[in-house]
């Protein structure tokens, strides 16, 4: 009975996301139209006269009323057409498909790095609350979240690339001398592995390290904090006491009993941090010339590139919904109670 219930719940959750998506579509449309500047003028290029601007306005459909424009946008959307970006001159959907894996790969690696550091730190702090270890953990992770990512990024580039020469040139996902691996998933690390090309894999990872560290530093604090908090709570709970009273080994108590329970809120945080990071890495992408959707969005926004901004936000929203679904699934896997108790 449980699995069917759970499936139904997951279905409901994804349906619940629909109003939010509709909201996103409307808000984005209005927001982009509120952006200053006239794309027709921008599109017309330098030295365009009033007539050619008017022509282009017509061509872009900007001479119609907002309602009409919205209708056209919806119709195109229904056909899976996100329009064409002005700033890169490519169909938005294609750009997103190309760039999304870059952003996701970066974010995932960053989160992985971050989780690998933050979760053990959080556990360590929780097992020694209010000691110097705890304070140190808090201090270190908080320091990480206290710097603007672009600043950390440039600083890392300066030290590890410019001064020390340890890191490769911050020129995107792969150094110029490498060829991107055969496209399967769009994740260079995975594609390189699939192709068995270890050298490209190494090069890809090398490019990833600095931006991922930059982002990872930023996400350390929420993860460590949540891990510590929920571990503390679980370690103080009755069932951990029962387990200890039953003589289970410290390792078993800490991991099988305490940590698995403490993981639940950590998963939620991880999901939130993921979507937050995906949105926030726009700045990091800019510093590292990372061809992700974040840098794409910034450029698009600055030049009032309606289609690109709309496409980007929509993609992010869908991703966000999908992510929540993944969290729900993860939650369901870890917690048998999902859907049974409120």
């Amino acid at each position: 009975m449980a699995s069917a219930t759970k499936l139904r719940i997951l279905g409901q959750r994804s349906l619940q996301a629909l109003p939010a998506l509709v909201g996103i579509i409307i808000v984005t449309f209005v927001l982009t139209r509120a952006l200053p500047g006239d794309p027709a003028v921008y599109f017309a290029g330098p030295a365009a006269d009033a007539r050619s601007i008017a022509e282009i306005r017509k061509q872009l459909g900007l001479d119609r009323t907002l309602i009409e424009q919205f209708g056209i946008y919806l119709r195109q959307l229904a056909q899976g057409d996100l329009g064409q970006s002005i700033s890169t001159g490519q169909p938005v959907i294609k750009e997103l498909v190309n760039r999304l894996p870059a952003s996701i790969e970066l974010t995932l690696v960053a989160l992985l790095l971050s989780a690998l550091v933050a979760i053990p730190l959080g556990i360590l702090a929780a097992t020694r609350p209010d000691t110097w270890v705890d304070h140190l953990c808090r201090f270190v992770t908080t320091a990480g979240v206290s710097l603007p990512t672009f600043f950390t990024g440039i600083l890392l580039v300066y030290v590890f690339y410019y001064l020390l020469g340890w890191a490769p040139a911050p020129m995107g996902r792969l150094n110029v001398m490498y060829l991107s691996p055969p496209h399967v998933t769009g994740f260079f690390t995975i594609d390189a592995l699939l192709a068995g090309d270890l050298e490209t894999l190494r090069a890809t990872l090398a490019q990833l390290i600095l931006p991922a560290t930059t982002l990872g530093l930023f996400t350390l604090a929420p993860l460590a904090r949540m891990t510590r908090g929920s571990m503390l709570q679980v370690l103080g709970s009755d069932f951990v006491r029962t387990a200890r009273a039953a003589g289970l080994s410290g390792r078993k108590v800490l991991f099988t009993y305490a940590f698995r329970n403490a993981l639940l809120p950590v998963i939620t945080t991880l999901g939130m941090v993921f979507s937050f990071t995906l949105g926030a890495n726009v700045l990091v992408e800019k510093v590292f010339a990372w061809p992700g959707i974040g840098s794409y969005a910034i450029e698009a926004l600055v030049v009032s590139d309606y289609a690109a901004v709309q496409g980007f936000v929509l993609a992010m929203a869908i991703l966000f919904v999908a992510l929540n679904l993944v969290i729900d699934v993860a939650y369901t896997l870890v917690d048998p109670r999902v859907g049974i108790e409120g």
Partner: protein
């Protein structure tokens, strides 16, 4: 997504007899409590000391600094830190130290105003939807979902780009993207308390729903929200800095940490590290302070932590 408190309940077995000294005035009792919170945790103490430093810079800064933060000086362009210019000078020969100190006020205003706005509106919406539930709850929930599904920084960028890059708009944008956090938190905190015994008791005492919400439930939801408030103050500053980095920050020549870091970041590679590093440190210190402040603030507002 539920909010969990990370506090640890007191060991079950030791409910030591509450010891309360004789009659005290509310203020002195509160001060004693504050002192206790501060001394019990070195990190919190540090945070409050830093906060004092930042606050005094914000209040007294313009009176204290050695130079006019806006005064350019052709002969003092890009000078490294020295006795005359502790933090060096920038491209236009302005004194970086003076600018960093004076910027404290604006940055504090941005973060406090943004957080205050999102706190007031967010917690009010959240409290109402958590208490009354029903269509109001649904509506507010959808609103939050919509905001949350946006990549938040990009939403802030969009708002500032659309409305124009003034301090006011930066504050509004920051407030809007922080809104859902308060809504959800207030909703959750109110929701768990809406049928608590003391709320029922308040109903029996003839309190109206609004009064119960405002005077009985809401104040009790405050302590956990304090943590969120202080975290968000830090975010607000970082957010403003990020906006500056892409050129949507406050207008020059107003000194602001974010814009100074953003502009200075371009000079790191060419060796003028002081342009970005000092405002960066100030910014980090402020964000750091706010982040560490949370637990302390929560303990101060929470009467249960009082002895």
């Amino acid at each position: 997504m539920q909010a969990r408190k990370d506090g640890l309940a007191m060991p079950v077995a030791i409910q030591a007899e509450p010891v309360v000294p004789k009659r005290e005035t509310g203020v002195s009792r509160w001060l004693r409590h504050v002192r206790h919170v501060l001394t019990s945790n070195p990190v919190t103490l540090l945070a409050f000391v830093l906060l004092t430093v930042i606050l005094s810079a914000a209040i007294l800064g313009p009176a204290l600094v050695p130079y006019d933060p806006l005064q350019t000086n052709a002969s003092q362009q890009m000078k490294p830190p020295s006795w005359a210019h502790w933090f060096g000078t920038d491209q236009l020969g302005r004194d970086v130290f003076s600018r960093v100190v004076v910027a404290a006020r604006l940055d504090l205003i941005i973060s406090v105003a943004a957080v205050a706005l999102s706190f007031v509106f967010g917690s009010a919406l959240g409290a109402v939807s958590g208490y009354f539930g029903g269509w109001c709850d649904k509506l507010v929930g959808r609103l939050c979902d919509t905001i949350m599904a946006f990549p938040l920084f990009v939403l802030a960028m969009g708002i500032v780009a659309a409305l124009g890059n003034t301090v006011d708009n930066i504050i509004y944008a920051t407030a809007i993207i922080n809104l859902p956090f308060y809504v959800r938190m207030a909703r959750a905190e109110v929701n768990v308390r809406r049928n608590a015994g003391f709320v029922q008791a308040a109903r029996l005492s003839g309190n109206s729903d609004w009064r119960i919400l405002a005077l009985h439930i809401f104040p009790n939801a405050l302590p956990p929200m304090m943590v969120q408030i202080s975290l968000n103050m830090g975010w607000a500053i970082l957010n403003a800095a990020g906006l500056s980095f892409i050129g949507l920050g406050v207008r020059p020549p107003t000194p602001e940490w974010g814009i100074m870091v953003a502009e200075g970041a371009n000079y790191i590679v060419s060796g003028e590290w002081w342009l970005a590093v000092f405002p960066g440190l100030a910014l980090m210190l402020a964000v750091f302070t706010f982040n560490l402040l949370g637990d302390g603030l929560r303990d101060i507002v929470d009467p249960q932590r009082r002895t």
